[in-house]
Amino acid sequence: MNLHITSYCQIHDKKVVVNDRFIFYMENFLNFADFLKAVYKQEAISYPKFFKMDSLSKLGFLATELVLREKPIGRYCSEEVGIVLSNASASLDTDIIHNDSVKDKSHYFPSPSVFVYTLPNIVIGEICIKNKIKGENAFLVSEFFDGTLFENYVQNLFINEGTAACICGWVELLGNNYNALSMLIEREENMEKTGNQPPWNLPFTAENLNQLIIRN
């Protein structure tokens, strides 16, 4: 079975790159939410629920939206599209916000819209809701992105679990440190051919995954 990365988006170090093309750069911003909002606006993404998300979900959501813009998955059934994401900090960025809301007993107002985001897999939930993805999904945590684990895990989904397309990647955020890499994985025979130029793609191997995360 030959699997390929048919589209990727990386959001890191003030820039957004899609399939090796720079599509956004912002030199100065006060906080990370402003950076994400600027990307949202430039890319004309119309999805009001975006503003209810925490920063981790916004980051993962945006990176994946840009991937799926390049390579829409409409031709696949909901149940055969999977999504596997990972990071190092889980939901710690939002955990701190929730913790702050309950630290001071004289000003004790835990917020359900914050608490719900204190689980890293919610970013998967948000992506599934927007794109009607109902297949295999999982959120893994590791200190560094593990290309070998992903290669084995995702290949297995295609071979044994009825997955026909899979979003996978790394969505890491803590304070001012952020790095998101979202990728679409498809079977070689399902890759869309566009004209004479072969569309951007990379074979889905652990080596290519590990290279991609540090490419930009």
Binding site: P48, F50, F51, K52, F109, P112, S113, V116
Partner: protein, 84 residues
């Protein structure tokens, strides 16, 4: 009452992260749930937090929420009645 209604509109927009909505977009008598603002179950819970945090009013029975949060005006009326 009108002053409270304007204040509430701003607070609701902020508490519920309704980024692309301005106070002028909200009709104080329109239902908050259903169509319109597209609020969901988490928003309903957040409005309960808003009442407690900004007005010191604790809603004992969440089932009362449907009446209280029907519209901005019903919220304002409830606050006026119960504010400590």
């Amino acid at each position: 009452m009108e002053e409270l209604i304007e204040k509430l509109k701003k607070e609701v927009i902020e508490q519920l992260n309704l980024e692309e909505i301005s106070p002028d977009d909200i009709n104080p008598d329109s239902p908050l749930f259903g169509e319109g603002l597209g609020l969901d179950s988490i928003d309903a819970l957040e409005l309960i937090v808003l009442l407690e945090k900004n007005y010191g009013i604790k809603i004992e029975d969440p089932k009362d929420g449907k009446k209280i949060f029907y519209s901005i005006r019903t919220m304002a009326e409830y606050i006026t009645e119960h504010k400590k």
